[in-house]
Amino acid sequence: TQLLEQSPQFLSIQEGENLTVYCNSSSVFSSLQWYRQEPGEGPVLLVTVVTGGEVKKLKRLTFQFGDARKDSSLHITAAQPGDTGLYLCAGDMGRRALTFGSGTRLQVQP
C-alpha cells in the first residue's frame, strides 16, 4: 500500500495545455515537497510547502498544500516540452527521511 498516491500516473498532452497532478494521503505531513526527475538524473527539488492551505508559484507551476496537510496538487499552465519529466511528491513525517509518491510521468508534445 502506497502511503502517498499520485494521479494520474501518466499524462500526455499538447504544448499549451493546462494540467493538474494530485498527491493524496491519509497521513498528515509536516511538510510536502515536489520534485522533478529527468531520465538518467536524480530528482530535483521544485518546492516545499509547509502550512495547510499554502499556495506557492514557480513561474507557470502552482503548488497547493491541502488544509489538513494530507494532500497537495501541482498545476501547470500552458505546458511546454521542457516540462516533460517524472513529477514526484514527497512527504516529510519528521523522521528525517521522505516518503515518496508513486510518481506522475508527464509528456508534453510540441
Partner: protein, 112 residues
C-alpha cells in the same frame, strides 16, 4: 561544482558478487541518505545517516551495509548480489532539521 556525486554511474555485475557505490556531498549537510528506485520509478528510503550516525535503517537485507567515514561521505556496500537488487540507487543529502533533499545522479546497478 557537483553538489552530490556518486560513483560509478553504471554497474553491471553477476549474481553472488560484492560491490560498492560511493557518494560524496560538498554542501556541508549533516544528513545523508540512500534510496532505491525500482523499475516503476518508486523511490524508497534505505538508510539515513546524521553526522556519521545511522538513524534510519528500513527493512533492507543485511547484505546491504552503509558506511560513513565522515559526514561528507556515505558509501553503500552490497554483498552476494541478487537479481532483485537491480535498480537505480540514489544518494541524497539534506541540511540539519530540514526535509528538502539534494540527490546525486544515481547509480544504475544491473545484476545478471
Amino acid at each position: 561544482d557537483t553538489a552530490v556525486s556518486q560513483t560509478p554511474k553504471y554497474l553491471v555485475t553477476q549474481m553472488g558478487n560484492d560491490k560498492s557505490i560511493k557518494c560524496e556531498q560538498n554542501l556541508g549537510h549533516d544528513t545523508m541518505y540512500w534510496y532505491k528506485q525500482d523499475s516503476k520509478k518508486f523511490l524508497k528510503i534505505m538508510f539515513s545517516y546524521n553526522n556519521k550516525e545511522l538513524i534510519i535503517n528500513e527493512t533492507v537485507p543485511n547484505r546491504f551495509s552503509p558506511k560513513s567515514p565522515d559526514k561528507a561521505h556515505l558509501n553503500l556496500h552490497i554483498n552476494s548480489l541478487e537479481l532483485g537488487d537491480s535498480a537505480v540507487y540514489f544518494c541524497a543529502s539534506s541540511p540539519q532539521g530540514r526535509g528538502e533533499q539534494y540527490f546525486g545522479p544515481g547509480t544504475r546497478l544491473t545484476v545478471t
